[in-house]
Amino acid sequence: MKAAVVVFPGTNCDSETFEALERSGFQAAYVWHDWASLEEFDLVVLPGGFSYGDYLRPGAIARFSPVMNSVEKYLSQKRGMVLGICNGFQVLLEDGLLPGAMMRNECGHFICRPVALKVENSPVFAQIKKRLILYIAHSDGRYIAPPEAIKRMEEENRILLRYEENPNGATDSIAAIANENFSVIGMMPHPERSTASYHPNLDGLEIFQAIRRWLYACRY
């Protein structure tokens, strides 16, 4: 399975995301932000970082990048899945591919720490049978959405991860969500930082491998 790691100017979690994908059984490749076609990939990852310096708002400029047109085309052709991690999640929200928005953390500053996550009942992460400990590292991770949108996501099992102890003030402690047909996933924690023997744990592999199983199951 092939996975693209999209690199915007200012992206900075590209190399570890690449390595984590390779460790999870994907064949990874970097894709520069002016890339036209994503057809060859089964998974497209928008990694963490500060695309375009996070100027204006995180993700607000990156959504106008040429590669985002390719992402939209990729999704309309039902070619595969798009995963946004941290800044990638923010880009997906700005682009309207996922509902809601990100606000400044309640504490007002950047937080970097390991957090415990409850894996909710969803088709994508159904086989992850344990709580996960993953790193968060963000200033703007307070997820918000209208109550009716949250309710709908809840009913459709599209809330994928929740913080056990809410670190940033996110609505309903939401840490990860999916779109209607589970072809777009956004998550604030960094699974790529928990995938190697020298990392504190291997919980990030659970995430990438669950996605790989889901892609097989969907025969993308």
Binding site: E19, G49, D54, H109, F110, C112
Partner: protein
């Protein structure tokens, strides 16, 4: 230019230095030339009080940072202070301090992999404390280099003069190491990065001056742009792999002036600069302003003549400004052209070799280690120690830093030393610290203790000490007792 004491004072230049210049040139320097000397002969650029000591006691391997080898990997590391800018504008002072030290590391062709900070404040929550920590957080996090360790100490003495020392560590493959040594008459000097503005003029002479009160010195502090820095890191590392590239130098204090003259001088050559070519941020800048500007996020390169296009392509990919601003010459001469006129013409060796003032340093610092008495009680002194902010957990500080980006952090902050994964079963242990109490009481023994503690931190984290670097922060000895 007939110089009066007032205008020399504004340039932080002594009358003795002015006399030396006139004597060496056999004429009065013109205004542009005087500005050149004011920057290059400042303590900040010229290490005038410490150069002799450095030469006597150390044999630095040359280049922009220190270097040790682990197998085929070179670990470049350097620590630098940004105390004065942080005293005046803590946020930007800290941010640009990081930007500057990172550029020292990329100038060697090394990818920055870690930052550490040694911070000395008066108390937690002070204006300077808050500003410096958020400056490190915003700039360091954005450029994607993990801040993995360091120290935070609190002493009332640091109320107005904080100490902000930043260490950057980079990784370079054997064979890809770069230096700042220029060669080849006719080769081009190229500028890459941000446009040049009036920010940070006199930064070099400013940093060499004493700060007594919170005076309004803001125009001398530069403003950082971490997004441009991140692009500059990637572009510089791409450029450093070009065959046509000869040397790299970061632009720090005294900007274009010091970076280009240092490269030419280290290659035993001269240079011509064409200031009309420099991309400018504002109109009507004087030649000396262009030369001395400390606008952030710029690098200088020497590239084989007619191979500038290789660099231009990379500059365009990363959306950075690019210009050929000079050429290496055979004469040991530094010439500056602007608007078709020759605005400065000086012997290069005179410009880059500021007169050594270290012979003035005769008096040793007083040592005053006193015997401490113990009352025999344990509980109260122990509680007092544990509640002191210097000893308390630094979690509220380091949680604001992204210590895990790049995915190589094995031991995060909070341990004796940070540990990063290198390859296979190899790792790098890093520590940074300076006990200012020990060194103030007894400089010699205190410094030994600092070195011992650093080694102990590395060893207790499973490492073997391979290399040491330092950044020494002194008060002005001419102003009496060292106030740190």
């Amino acid at each position: 230019m007939p110089a009066d004491i007032e205008s020399l004072k504004k340039l932080s230049m002594s009358l003795e230095d002015y006399g030396r210049i006139v004597e060496a040139l056999g004429r009065e320097p013109n205004p542009t030339e005087l500005y050149i000397f004011s920057a290059m002969w400042s303590e900040h650029c010229g290490y005038r009080h410490s150069r002799r000591l450095i030469k006597e006691h150390l044999r630095p391997p040359g280049g922009n940072a220190g270097l040790v080898w682990i197998g085929d990997w070179g670990i470049a590391f350097k620590v630098e202070s940004h105390n004065h800018p942080c005293a005046v504008e803590p946020f930007q002072g800290a941010a640009t301090g990081i930007g500057g030290i990172i550029r020292d590391v990329i100038a060697m062709g090394a990818r920055p992999i870690a930052l550490l900070d040694s911070l000395h404040f008066s108390r937690p929550g002070s204006r300077i404390y808050e500003g410096v920590i958020s400056g490190i957080s915003v700039y360091g996090n954005s450029i994607g280099v993990p801040t993995v360790g360091g120290e935070v100490r609190f002493e009332p003495q640091f109320e107005l003069n904080p100490l902000v020392n930043v260490m950057a560590v980079g990784l370079v493959k054997r064979g890809e190491l770069r230096t700042n040594q220029a060669r080849g008459v006719g080769n081009s000097i190229v500028l890459l990065g941000s446009k040049t503005g009036r920010d940070g003029l006199h930064g070099a002479s400013f940093a060499s001056r004493e700060l007594h009160t919170e005076v309004d010195e803001r125009p001398s502090v530069q403003v950082g742009d971490p997004f441009t820095e991140k692009k500059l890191i990637e572009a510089t590392l791409e450029i450093s792999r070009l065959k046509s590239l000869i040397s790299i130098q970061d632009m720090g204090a005294a900007g274009i002036l010091s970076s280009t003259t240092e490269m030419a001088a280290s290659g035993g050559l001269g240079l011509d600069l064409f200031l009309d070519q420099v991309p400018l941020r504002e109109e009507g800048m004087e030649p000396w302003e262009i030369l001395l500007s400390e606008s952030q996020e710029r690098m200088a390169f020497v590239v084989e003549k007619e191979k500038e296009e290789d660099l231009r392509r990379i500059a365009e990919k990363w959306e950075l400004d690019f210009a050929r601003i000079g050429v290496l010459t055979s004469r040991e001469e530094f010439r500056v052209f602007y608007g078709g006129e020759l605005v400065a013409s000086l012997p290069l060796s005179l410009v880059v070799n500021a007169p050594d003032l270290s012979q003035e340093m005769e008096r040793l610092y007083p040592t005053s280690s006193k015997i401490a008495f113990w009352s025999g009680r344990v509980r109260e002194p122990l509680l007092a120690l544990l509640s002191h902010p210097t000893i308390a957990s630094k979690k509220p500080v380091y949680e604001k830093y992204d210590y895990g980006v790049r995915g190589k952090t094995v031991k995060p902050p909070g341990a004796d030393a940070a540990v990063l994964h290198l390859e296979g079963k190899k790792g790098i242990a890093l520590t940074l610290g300076g006990n200012s109490r020990y060194t103030a009481l007894n400089p010699r023994e205190g410094t030994k203790a600092v070195l011992f503690e650093a080694c102990a931190n590395i060893i207790s984290s499973g490492g073997r000490p391979l290399g040491v670097t330092n950044c020494l922060n002194f008060g002005n000895r001419l102003r009496g007792r060292n106030n740190c």
